[in-house]
Each structure stands twice: as structure tokens, then as C-alpha cells.
């Protein structure tokens, strides 16, 4: 059957491959749709669209923001030039409008009758009007407020000045000097330059260009302090480390593979040929992913490279068969020998990977699609084309690897006491107990996304001076109208003031600090109005006792005649220089019907407190991205653990269909032992369990069961099987077990489990089978 069907599908398979490759090339014309943001692996947590939009908009704004602090003006100027020339930035804030201060003053001045500082509002609402008056008297007499007499005719009560003073406290460490924003920190001066990246920080090309730009600038301003923080620095560091991994690990594994082929086959042709199925599988898998998901995630590719380890098995079985047949090589007969083994291997691997797709988790689904398509592609290529490509017999050569394989097989067949199975099963139980008690899980995304110390230190330094520039913990305050959002924001702010006082947060940024709600403006106006218009009130007495000129008093009273004020609005605020600081904190939905503001927190010590706070207020949600992601990772780590366990069980059931219980158990020992050993060793080394090394267990299962099945099914020489398994195991370790050495924690924790798993699978697999009758009669 195989001999008849095979040739018919050869050409269609090649045509399909060419079509898929063509599709990929077309898609790659505008840049390959690669996703590197690790968070994109995870599904979105929030269902509320506005909160989600608010979050996205805020993340986009902060994700694109790069903050620089330059030690002197010349360096800042060079930096600005470099930023402009680089074309990387869509917006650069450097020299501020020299009229900025006046413009901010002018923003508020028309609304001065309805603006009060928090302190003065408290006085008025508590009926302590005389305190307002005492403050005004102090301002008139104190040496520190002489200049305010300039505005005294308009502001005889000093309420507007007090309001402006309370704003000043909000402005933070920066002051406008000339047309520069300057901060002082530990007796040094820093000039602030802020850029908005044109591209997303996770765009690879933007990262490369930014990296070049920043190196260039740093060499230009040598000797002057230059600090910078922003998501892009983390992204660059991440990509550089991934690139470093690929180049060093890639070169190492390439060299290792070439050496291995030379030792095993005295020829590099097998290497080339055995990688053709891997390549074809890869093309098919990539095309399938782009077709289904639109984008391919970097982690899928990393996981995908691990497929090399599984799919190359098929090639090696064919090659090992050919080597052992020597002069009597008939390709079709060789294929028949290994067909049952590799087909069963494929089916079990597919079962394992498909188990992943059960999860409602785009990352896992992508991996599942990639893996099943890739494996099937490699399998088809071996089955359809290898008999054509490898017609001639191999060289007459007894490679040292075969001698090694023979020694291993001999060891296992001589060391085969009764009760071996029981012994292994017991050993597995012991390992499982050890793992259960010693392996801890850690799903904290911060641990997984560790950036180099230099990047982190820079960020801390900039944060210390500028304040939180890329808050990941914040409140989203929603409402149906501008006033409602502002009112809820005020309510939240009053609670946050207490949290700041009690040290549970360091500070917060909110639009309500610079823009009172309309309701509050109206209330404050009426509070003042009542005092100002009543000549017998404390304010009235102040105005007459201090001897203000008649026209000043009457003008002031006149301005309080109307019963209502037109409020200061978000629109006005956003048309002022304050927009630079606050526009990212104000969010309007696309249809303009729902509104939200963002309140960014800095230095949160008690997360739960913030959640409770949000829960106790209307329309307020607390978002802590890193913690949400960590929680999500935890959920999916748990889910994947169940899926992995499910996959092991499914495969055991499959094995029961084909083998008797005893043999089915023994076939399961290598993959189960490999998985448990990898976990136990991780625990012993103090490593922790996370989503990514949990997923690696699927690979271990796929590879381990393959090896075991090859031995169980191996109808011919066990040495040949051992040889093939040895070669594919070494290849697998060289090609991606080395990922354990990666500097990226996600990848190294993945690589480590795979590395240990493959080694143990290799050691345990030869104990399978070897008896006279292993299987039920072949049904394939």
C-alpha cells in the first residue's frame, strides 16, 4: 500500500510546499509578522472595553515614551539634534515654550473665582472662614509674598495664589529655567528631554535603529552624564540577548552537528538530507500559523525549533536503517521497517501537542498548530521523498557511534533482572514524591523578564528624579460624562492622599490635581461667593479693615454676582501646555460616549489595599499589569500542568490500544521518568516551575515516547534503533537543549527541562522491549 500511494503524493506535496513558501514570501515583503512582546502570548484579562482601551492607550503612550536626562545644555542640544536626525521620534519635548508659565497662569486666571486649594476648601466647608482671612493677612505681611501684590487687585483674598501654590507642589522636581526643564538631584543639574517613538517599542527595526542612535549619542557626549529610561531599553536588551543566544548557541550547535555527522556517517550529505524534512516542516508550520493567527510569536519560533528534535528522528531512523543494511539496501524495504515506529511516533506527538490546543489561550494554540503542522510536514517528507533521495547504499563504515549504541544495548539486555519494571515504577513514585514536596512555582513576570542591571539602574535613577514615567500600577476611573469622571477621580484622590500620608504609596498622578470637577468648581464658587458678598462676614471685614481701595472691593464683589460659573474644562486644559503632562491620563472612547481618566501610582507597597480601595468606589478599577500578568501566567501554568498530565494519560491509553498492560507501562517509563527527572533536578538546583518549563514537558513527552516506541516497535536490530535514537538525541540536545544556556530566563528554563528530559529519555529508552513478542499484531 505504501509503495503504491507514496509516489502519487510526492508531487502534490512539493507543490503544496512551494505554495506555502510563496505565501510566506508575499507576507514577508512588508516585514515578517513576528511578535516579540511576551505579553501577547497571553489572552486579555479585562472584558470591559473602555478599561481595556484605556489600558491600551496608556500602555501605548508610556511604551513609546523615552525619557532622557542630560548633564548639561550642550549635551541636551546634541541629544536633541541626534533625536531629530534619527527619525525615530514622532515627538520630542526639549526646549519648552518660554511663555509656558504665563500660559498656564492664563489657563486658570479666567476661572480664578471658582478655584480653591484643598486646604482652603476645608476651611470654608468647616466654617473656619477666619482661617482663610488669617492666611490672607499673613500673605499681606509676610516677607515671602510681596510680589503677589501685583495680582492683589484681582485676588485680594489670595485664594487664587494659594491655588497656584498648591499646583506648584504638583509640578514635581522640574523647574523652567530659560526655556529648559531642569531638575536638581544631589547637587547636580539635569535637563529633561522626552521623546515619543514613532514605532512601537517591540518593533525589531525600531529597536535596532534606537540602539544605534543611543550608542552614537553616548559616544558624542562622553564625559557628560546622560541617563535614559523607557520600555524600548528593555526591549533592546531583550532582543540583543535573544540575538546573542541565537548566534552563540546557534554556532555551537551547528559545529556540534557537523562533527556528529562526520563521526556517524563520514559524510555531510546525510546531515543536509536529514534537515530537509525539518526545513519543509518549518515552512509548512510557519505558513499555517501566519494563515491562522496573522502573526507568529517569537516564543512559538523558539518552541518551534524544538521540533527539530522530534522531526529529525524520522530522518535518522531512515538513515540508520540504510547504514545497517549496507550493500543490500532497498529503500522501500527500509521504509517498511521503520514505518510503524515513526508513524506511531508521529501520532503520539500529535496527540501531545493537540492537547495544548484545548486551552483557550492563543499562545498555546499557536504552538499546537505550529507543532502539529511542522511534524506532519517533516514526516511526509521522509516517507514520500527519502526513498527517492537515498536510493544508493551508504558507505561501508562502522561508526564509533554505532559501537557506543551496541554497548548500551548490551548493558540493558544483560542487566535485566526480574522485577525491573516494578523497580522503575517505584523509582518513579519516589521521584514524583520528591518533586511534589520540593518544586516551587514562581509565576512572577518580573522574574521572567529580567533586564540587564544597567537598564534597571538607569530606570530607577530616572524614576527617582522624574517620578514614575511608565507606571504599571494604576486606577482607571470611568464615567458617562466629563464631570462624572472628574468627580470620581476627586473622590479617589482624596482617598489616595490618605494612602500617601500613611506611606502605602509614594505618590500618584491624577488629572484631578490640576482640574477640579465642574461640580467642585461650582461649589467652591458658591462658598466664596457667600463670604465675599456678605460685608459682615470675616472676609467682608477683612476687605474693609485692610483698607482696600473702594474700586478694588467693589470690582471684586462685582465679579461674584453671577450665580453660576462656566467651568474650566478638559478641553481647555488639553489646549494648554499642561496637555504635555496630562493628555495621556485622559481617555475618550472611539465613539466619544464614554470617558475615563488614569491615575498612575508610584511606590505601591500594599497591592491588596489598592484593590479594596478600587472596589469601594464607583467606576474605579485597579490595574496592576505585572501582577495581572503574573496571575494569568499562574492560571495558565496550572492549566498547562493539567494538559501535560492529560497528554501523558492520553498517550498511555493509546499505548494500551497497541500493547499489553505490562509493555504499555514499560513504554511509558522513559517519558514519565524523563519529565520527573527534569523537574526533580530543577527543584534540586533551586529552579522554579513556570508556564514555559511546564510546556517543555510536552516536548519531553513527545521525544521520550518516540524513543520508547522505536525500541518497542524495532523489528530489526536493536543496535540500529539505538544508533538512530542516539543520533537524534544528540542532535536534539545540540539544536535546542543548549537553549538552557540562554540569558533569557523564559528560554533557559524551557531549555533546561528539555535538555534533562532528552538525556534521561535516551538513557531509559533501551530498557523498553527486547523480549520476543512485544506488541499485538501490527495493525498499521
Amino acid at each position: 500500500m505504501l509503495a503504491k500511494l507514496g509516489p502519487k503524493f510526492r508531487i502534490p506535496w512539493l507543490v503544496a510546499l512551494v505554495l506555502m513558501a510563496g505565501f510566506l514570501v508575499v507576507r514577508a515583503v512588508d516585514g515578517f509578522p513576528l511578535e516579540t512582546n511576551i505579553l501577547k502570548l497571553l489572552p486579555d484579562t479585562r472584558t470591559d472595553p473602555l478599561t481595556e482601551q484605556a489600558y491600551r492607550q496608556f500602555e501605548m503612550a508610556t511604551g513609546r515614551r523615552v525619557v532622557f536626562l542630560a548633564g548639561d545644555e550642550a549635551a541636551a542640544e546634541k541629544l536633541y539634534q541626534g533625536m531629530t536626525d534619527s527619525g525615530l521620534f514622532s515627538e520630542i519635548s526639549f526646549r519648552v515654550d518660554p511663555e509656558r508659565t504665563r500660559k498656564i497662569f492664563e489657563l486658570y486666571r479666567p476661572h480664578r473665582h471658582s478655584l480653591l486649594s484643598n486646604e482652603q476648601r476645608r476651611f470654608l466647608t468647616a466654617g473656619e472662614t477666619e482661617k482663610l482671612v488669617q492666611q490672607a493677612e499673613k500673605n499681606l505681611m509676610s516677607p515671602v509674598s510681596i510680589g503677589s501684590t501685583a495680582g492683589l487687585a484681582q485676588d485680594p483674598l489670595f485664594t487664587f495664589m494659594e491655588f497656584l501654590k498648591s499646583l506648584q507642589a504638583e509640578a514635581g522636581a522640574f523647574t523652567v529655567e530659560g526655556d529648559l526643564l531642569v531638575a536638581r538631584h544631589q547637587d547636580k543639574e539635569y535637563i529633561l528631554v522626552v521623546g515619543e517613538l514613532e514605532d512601537n517599542a517591540f518593533s525589531i527595526s525600531a529597536q535596532e535603529r534606537f540602539d544605534r542612535f543611543y550608542r552614537e549619542i553616548r559616544s558624542q557626549v562622553q564625559g557628560v552624564e546622560l541617563h535614559s529610561a523607557g520600555v524600548i531599553h528593555h526591549a533592546v536588551a531583550g532582543t540583543n540577548s535573544a540575538r546573542h543566544d541565537i548566534s552563540t548557541i546557534g554556532i555551537g550547535s551547528m559545529a556540534g552537528l557537523v562533527l556528529l555527522m562526520w563521526v556517524a556517517f563520514r559524510s555531510l550529505r546525510p546531515l543536509m538530507i536529514s534537515f530537509v524534512p525539518v526545513l519543509f516542516g518549518f515552512v509548512a508550520a510557519l505558513a499555517a500559523c501566519v494563515l491562522v493567527f496573522g502573526k507568529v510569536h517569537l516564543f512559538t519560533l523558539v518552541f518551534g525549533t524544538s521540533l527539530v528534535g522530534v522531526s529529525i528522528d524520522y530522518s535518522f531512523h531512515f538513515l540508520a536503517e540504510r547504514l545497517s543494511a549496507g550493500e543490500e539496501w532497498v529503500p522501500e524495504a527500509g521504509l517498511r521497517h521503520i514505518f510503524a515506529g515513526i508513524t506511531l511516533g508521529l501520532l503520539t506527538s500529535l496527540a501531545a501537542y493537540l492537547a495544548l490546543a484545548v486551552a483557550p489561550f492563543s499562545g498555546l494554540r499557536q504552538i499546537a498548530v505550529f507543532s502539529t503542522v511542522g511534524l506532519t510536514g517533516a514526516y511526509l517528507t521522509v516517507v514520500l521523498w527519502f526513498p527517492v533521495w537515498l536510493r544508493s547504499p551508504s558507505l561501508r563504515y562502522r561508526p564509533p557511534t554505532l559501537r557506543l549504541a551496541r554497548a548500551v544495548v548490551k548493558f540493558w539486555s544483560s542487566a535485566k533482572p526480574k522485577g525491573q519494571l516494578l523497580f522503575f515504577l517505584l523509582a518513579l513514585v519516589v521521584l514524583a514524591v520528591y518533586v511534589a514536596f520540593n518544586l516551587k512555582a514562581d509565576d512572577n513576570i518580573r522574574a521572567l523578564q529580567s533586564s540587564p542591571r544597567e537598564v534597571v539602574e538607569q530606570e530607577d535613577f530616572v524614576k527617582e528624579i522624574v517620578g514614575s514615567s511608565s507606571g504599571t500600577q494604576f486606577f482607571v476611573v470611568r464615567g458617562g460624562t466629563e464631570d462624572e469622571v472628574l468627580r470620581r477621580g476627586e473622590e479617589l484622590a482624596s482617598r489616595l492622599d490618605i494612602e500617601v500620608e500613611e506611606g502605602r504609596i509614594k505618590r500618584y498622578r491624577s488629572i484631578s490635581r490640576v482640574l477640579p470637577s465642574w461640580q467642585r468648581q461650582q461649589e467652591d464658587y458658591l462658598l466664596l461667593r457667600q463670604e465675599v458678598l456678605d460685608p459682615s462676614s470675616a472676609v467682608g471685614r477683612y476687605l474693609s479693615d485692610m483698607g482696600f481701595e473702594e474700586e478694588v472691593v467693589s470690582g471684586f464683589r462685582e465679579s461674584y454676582q453671577p450665580l453660576e460659573v462656566s467651568p474650566l474644562t478638559v478641553k481647555e486644559l488639553m489646549a494648554s501646555p499642561l496637555a504635555e503632562l496630562y493628555s495621556q491620563l485622559w481617555i475618550e472612547s472611539e465613539d466619544g460616549r464614554s470617558l475615563a481618566s488614569i491615575v498612575v501610582l508610584d511606590g505601591v507597597t500594599e497591592l491588596e489595599e489598592m484593590r479594596l480601595l478600587a472596589g469601594s468606589l464607583d467606576g474605579v478599577a485597579f490595574v496592576s499589569r505585572a501582577d495581572d500578568v503574573s496571575a494569568l501566567l499562574q492560571t495558565y501554568r496550572r492549566l498547562s500542568s493539567w494538559l501535560v498530565a492529560g497528554a501523558y494519560c492520553t498517550i498511555f491509553l493509546l499505548m494500551l490500544l497497541r500493547y499489553r498492560l505490562r509493555n504499555a507501562l514499560s513504554v511509558m517509563i522513559p517519558p514519565v521518568g524523563a519529565g520527573l527527572a527534569a523537574l526533580a533536578l530543577s527543584a534540586a538546583l533551586g529552579l522554579t516551575l513556570n508556564l514555559f518549563n511546564t510546556l517543555a514537558l510536552i516536548i519531553v513527552l513527545g521525544v521520550g515516547i518516540d524513543y520508547a516506541i522505536f525500541f518497542a516497535e524495532g523489528s530489526g536490530d536493536r543496535e540500529v534503533v539505538m544508533h538512530a535514537v542516539l543520533l537524534s538525541a544528540v542532535t536534539t540536545i545540540l539544536s535546542f537543549g543548549l537553549l538552557a544556556l540562554s540569558g533569557t530566563p523564559v528560554i533557559s528554563s524551557f531549555g533546561f527541562v528539555v535538555f534533562v528530559g532528552i538525556c534521561v529519555s535516551l538513557l531509559l529508552a533501551p530498557m523498553v522491549g527486547g523480549g520476543p513478542s512485544v506488541g499485538k499484531p501490527p495493525s498499521l
Binding site: T101, I104, K138, L140, M141, I146, T149, A150, V176
Partner: protein, 221 residues
């Protein structure tokens, strides 16, 4: 807004017995001092003023504001220490004191919460304190960086006129007049908008030359 903060501080001028001569004030701005080659009287005043480690004095302040029909009068005392900074206390009619040091500024008004401002929060204010203290101790070298200096009189009875040369100082003030003998006895600030402040100092003393424990406490945050 910045103007407001800068303005917040424009008043630390004092020292010495009140010996000012009205006549000298009228003339002083016709006698510019060439800082590179000053006369012997100016030199004597400069070195005399620069010497004080601690100064204590009472003051009377009269502010004349264009929007008010009558001047506002207040009185109090101050303590200056080269090491600590300035303590300025208005006793009447509003009980308020200010402490100004290199690292913080405190405002204490009776019946109100104390307010502390640090350079991190409002660096502009603290940038100015250096100028203030220079005026206060009579560091005429330092003042010549920001002001054109004028001088008439003798070491025991002199008048110094200051005309701001640049930036905000120039926007805020037309001129500043100091007068005195052994110490500064009188300061007059003439603002650009027509307001003026007149400070008179009494019971000025440089002894004892160090602060008592109680005085040091006044400077604490």
C-alpha cells in the same frame, strides 16, 4: 506661576542700627561703585558687613501697596546664622515664622499646619536663597553678580543702592536701598509695580556669636 514663587522670597534684607539718611538715598544712585576698583569707605563697609556669624534683630515693616488706602504695618524679630540660615518671626499682627535653610524652608503660622518645602519640590526658591543670604550678610561681592552697586557715605553712616541687572530680579524690582553703619539699619524695596516695602531694624546685635540651644531648636524642621 514661577513669578509667584520667586516673588515669595523677596524680603530678606536687614541688619544694624537705624542710622539711615534720607538725603543719602536721593543721591546714592548717582554714585556707581566700580566693583573692580572700589573706594576705601566702600571697602571698609564691605568687610565690616561680611564678618558677622550670627545676627539678631527686631524689625518693623511697613508695606505700601497701591491697592490699599493705608500702609500695612507689622513687627517681629529675626535671627541669622551663617551655619543655620534665617529665622524670621512676625510677632504681630499675624503670628507667623519662617525658617530658611539650605535644605528646607518651613512656614509656621499659629493655628495652621506647619508647611515644609524642600529643594526637590521647589528648586527655584532655593536657587534664590543664595542671593538673599548674600544681601543679608552684606556679601557685596556676591551681590555684584546680580546688581549694579551704588554707594555714598562713610563706614559709620552709609547708603547702598542696588539696581537689578537681569532676569526676574529686574522684572520685579526697580531698586533696593540699604542703609546703616556698623550693621544694616534699614532696607527699602521698590517694586516695579509701584508697591514698596520699608524695613527698619532695632536692637541689632552680633553677640553672642553662636546660637543657644533654644535658638537652634527654632531652625529645626
Amino acid at each position: 506661576m514661577k513669578r509667584f514663587i520667586l516673588i515669595l522670597f523677596w524680603t530678606f534684607w536687614f541688619c544694624g542700627p537705624a542710622l539711615c539718611q534720607v538725603g543719602q538715598e536721593a543721591q546714592v544712585f548717582q554714585h556707581a561703585v566700580n566693583v573692580k576698583a572700589p573706594g576705601p569707605d566702600f571697602l571698609a563697609v564691605r568687610s565690616s558687613l561680611a564678618g558677622a556669624a550670627v545676627v539678631r534683630s527686631d524689625f518693623k515693616q511697613k508695606k505700601t501697596l497701591t491697592v490699599l488706602k493705608k500702609p500695612i504695618v507689622s513687627a517681629g524679630n529675626y535671627i541669622f546664622s551663617k551655619d543655620y540660615g534665617l529665622y524670621w518671626n512676625i510677632g504681630a499682627p499675624v503670628d507667623t515664622s519662617y525658617v530658611l535653610t539650605d535644605s528646607y524652608m518651613v512656614e509656621r503660622q499659629k493655628g495652621f499646619k506647619q508647611k515644609v518645602v524642600t529643594p526637590d519640590q521647589q528648586p527655584a526658591i532655593f536657587g534664590l536663597t543664595e542671593v538673599f543670604e548674600a544681601i543679608f550678610v552684606g556679601d557685596l561681592d556676591r551681590l555684584s553678580q546680580d546688581f549694579a552697586i551704588h554707594f555714598v557715605g562713610s563706614p559709620s553712616n552709609w547708603t547702598i543702592g542696588l539696581v537689578p541687572q537681569r532676569g526676574l530680579l529686574k522684572k520685579m524690582f526697580k531698586k533696593v536701598v540699604l542703609a546703616g553703619g556698623q550693621t544694616v539699619g534699614e532696607v527699602k524695596l521698590y517694586e516695579a509695580n509701584g508697591d514698596s516695602t520699608h524695613l527698619k531694624f532695632d536692637n541689632t546685635t552680633r553677640r553672642p556669636p553662636s546660637l543657644s540651644a533654644a535658638e537652634k531648636k527654632l531652625f529645626a524642621r
